[in-house]
Symmetry: C2
Subunit: 140 residues, 2 copies
DNA sequence: ATATATGCAAACGGTTTGCAGGGAG
DNA sequence: CTCCCTGCAAACCGTTTGCATATAT
């Protein structure tokens, strides 16, 4: 838990608990709904404030997709993954690729750029959606 | 020009003209200012509508950074570049890396995912800012 | 007791939309 | 002459903030 000079409150406990249950790709709004469905009233503002605290504490990470929605995930120290985003159903899959990570480091160091983080998004159509839609035009 | 069943108007001409002059990393707000500085009044809404049309026509591409700002660039058919974003000064540099592009295609095809596009962002501190700031803590 | 956290509602910033008037074809 | 485009202002959406109250320590 966030024992970083933060008070422990029942809403924070609930938020963290539900976050962990959702266990990936958490959106503030959804978390808000899930927390409130089961009893206690927690304001949306508190959800956002808590998510930001957790992010600052390095416990969770944020990904901003091209459609503007923001998704949070439990931080996985040491490793990293990126996302395959289906533009048809909105589904998000993950992948890891050490070779790409390595190339990124090379690119950064070539330019004397200090890398703090990176995000790689692959946008397209997942297998499921290809089955559903006989043909498909491209999108950005 | 966008001869895709679109009417040619003086505001559209001005927008495109200024867009090309800025020649990279165009933000709607900036474009709005530049177009209006030199004469004619063009509404922000028209800027957005035109940018969206150009995007749909495949003439420009949009990148959404993690801080929410959205940047447009002339489409470069056939090739692609990605971005190094400095979290200190906001500067954006570009790079191309064929090996990374290749790996992405492999990842997608392994998962039977049809790739439409992708975005890779490297976030960190550029050389200039490293000089200015003796020490620096990390950011997401 | 004291500082921090909460809920609410209002503010925000970037983007989109509805509408009445204007201009391209 | 018709339909598309424009400007304006209002609506939107996700997120943040101010404030008075409630709560953890």
């Amino acid at each position: 838990m966030a024992q970083n000079q933060l008070k422990q409150t029942k809403q924070r406990r609930m938020i963290v608990e539900e976050f962990v249950k959702m266990n990936a790709h958490v959106q503030a709004e959804q978390l808000y709904i899930r927390v409130n469905v089961r009893g206690a009233k927690v304001g949306l503002a508190t959800i956002y404030r808590t998510l930001n605290l957790l992010k600052e504490a390095g416990l969770i990470e944020q990904c901003v997709f091209s459609d503007g929605r923001s998704v949070f995930e439990l931080a996985t120290p040491g490793q990293h993954h990126d996302h395959l985003v289906c533009l048809d159903c909105g589904d998000i899959a993950e992948f890891e690729n050490e070779a790409i990570e390595q190339l990124q480091k090379e690119i950064a160091s070539e330019r004397q750029f200090i890398l703090y983080s990176h995000r790689l998004y692959l946008y397209g159509s997942c297998h499921k959606c290809q089955m559903k839609n006989p043909t498909k035009a491209s999108v950005a």
